[in-house]
Amino acid sequence: MRLSFGDKLFNAINIAVLGVIGCVTIFPLYYVFVVSFTEPAEYLRKTVILFPENWSLASYKYLLSTEAFPKALGVSAFLASVGTLCSLAVTSSLAYALSRKRLRGRRLFLILILFTILFSPGIIPNYLLVRELGLINSIWSVIFVSLSSGWFVILMRGFYDSIPDELEEAAAIDGCNDITAWIRIVLPLSLPALAAFGLFFAVAYWNQYFNALLYLNDADKWPIQVLLQNMLIDASSSSLGDVDPLIQPPPSETLKMAAVVIAIVPILMVYPFLQKHFAKGAMVGSIKG
């Protein structure tokens, strides 16, 4: 089919407009990336850097030589791994049980769980609960409060609905009870779905900020997001803790950018896998508003 002049013009403008939007979106990320790798002397000499002449790892070396930064990375990695496993275990077992029609009271349970999406008692009652439980300053507080959510239970239950009861009946004949059937048959069947949910949990744990700020007072228990806030937004000079006095500190700006890049890299690494599972997550996200 031949394109008319108008169609060609439309195509060209459309490609250009979306190209500009793409560039504007990617630019801040590109900028922190290149500046974080710029040699300190070059950064101090120039006003604007769009592409460094001399690449350098100075900012990264310095960050990783500090006491606080690697520790915060460790805390966040702990949250993203252990937290995700706990979340998956609790959410998937509950979702599976709720998907079985023989579970009496499942409608009531579902309504009660839906209600928690709709209504939250607010920051203070949650804080007081964590305090009463003696979890203030414990990293587990961050995991416990975000262990599961109504949305995830509802979504996962939807997935488990497609597993027929006959499968368990067959398992029962082979001598399985519900728990062993779940572990030996249902879980292996749902591995791809669990992986998808796990990715979303892991990103959420890596991005945990406010709960950590609320429940963790000691700076040495901070995850990376709280440390970043302290370094970049509060611009606190002492946030990195003890540093090796032999290393000449790079300019604070390149240091900040290196910190942001390190916090973004894990997200970038899982991003291609996340993309596969967008559709489901997006539907929830859009409903959540």
């Binding site: 979106t25 077992s93 023989r102 939250s120």
Partner: protein, 322 residues
């Protein structure tokens, strides 16, 4: 005769179940005990971390003192609510919340629709997927990172934007501390983070449009823009209306972490919203009861609006959320 007998038996069984409901619940608990055991950790989680705090709401009606506890603190009825409503802070919180949300509705809301219409018109699948990958990415970055990036880009001393402004000989702009543009900065951040992600639901709706409609409109001589406006747009009109209504139901919600992180002394008057107020007055100043009352007010109005919006959305023939 046999059929009748069976039916009678069934009826009889029916009454029997109803009469001994608790008994059969016990039986079911016993028979499916492992299934209940599977559900137990999750149910306990919701009970402890979602329902126990609801009990904590009582402190909104008390002068809660951590030493006396929930049980023996003095009851004061609605006085915290009265104090909150008569406090000049209340109007400021309300104004800020509404302003941020209205700006969002006017400038953020239409963007994913426009973006998805444009994306839909791209003929190169590779180019389309590249752009999509780029504009979806910021959705997964935390607000701490988004605000950090904003500081890096916009700071007055070192930010690249101000460096460029100064380079061209103009006066630097105090993007981060100017109360007049604070709401606009918030809107721009939201757009950068979520506008791309917002296209997904519209693209899904557009994917369901019957291709024959485009063919027919071409026969009638419609060009690309006309097709976009008269075929694609009407096809996603329902989704737009539903999302708009649901968005209106969320009008009391402001992205807490975003506002909290962007907050500073210079913009405090335009940056305080309900949730940040609860945090500052409650956690930082220790006025637990008063701030719980403020938070409870916001939650209840929020729930009412969401339910109302959901009812309206259902009227438009779409399935609601609740």
């Amino acid at each position: 005769m046999i059929v009748e007998g069976k039916a009678a038996l069934k009826r009889k069984n029916g009454t029997a179940t109803r009469l001994s409901g608790s008994l059969s619940l016990w039986k079911s608990l016993k028979k499916d005990k492992y299934l209940y055991l599977l559900a137990l950790p999750g149910l306990l989680y919701f009970l402890i971390f979602k329902y126990l705090p609801m009990w904590g709401i009582v402190i909104a009606f008390q002068n809660y003192s951590p030493f006396l506890g929930f049980g023996s603190s003095e009851w004061v009825g609605l006085s915290h609510f009265v104090r909150f409503f008569s406090n000049p802070d209340f109007m400021i919180l309300f104004r800020n919340t509404m302003a941020i949300n209205l700006l969002n509705l006017c400038f953020f809301f239409p963007l994913p629709i426009i973006l998805s219409l444009l994306l839909n018109e791209l003929r190169s699948e590779l180019y389309k997927r590249t752009i999509q990958s780029i504009i979806y990415l910021p959705h997964f970055l935390s607000w701490v990172i988004i605000v950090s990036l904003s500081f890096i880009m916009l700071s007055q001393s070192e930010g690249i934007i101000n460096s460029l402004i100064a380079y061209f000989g103009f006066a630097k702009i105090d993007f981060l501390t100017n109360p007049n543009i604070f709401w606009i900065i918030l809107t721009v951040q939201s757009i950068w983070k979520e506008a791309g992600w917002g296209t997904i639901i519209f693209l899904a709706a557009i994917a369901g449009v019957n291709p024959q409609l485009y063919e027919a409109s071409r026969m009638d001589g419609a060009n690309r823009i006309q097709q976009m406006l008269h075929v694609t747009l009407p096809a996603i009109r329902n989704v737009i209306v539903i999302l708009l209504i649901l968005r209106l139901g969320d009008i009391m919600e402001v992205g807490f972490e975003q506002v909290f992180l962007m907050y500073n002394g210079a913009v405090s008057n335009v940056a305080e919203v309900f949730d940040t107020y609860v945090y500052r007055v409650g956690i930082q100043q220790g006025q637990f009861s008063y701030s719980t009352a403020a938070g409870l007010f916001k939650s209840i109005v929020g729930v009412a609006l969401v339910l109302l919006a959901n009812k309206l959305a259902k009227k438009f023939g779409e399935e609601g959320v609740f």
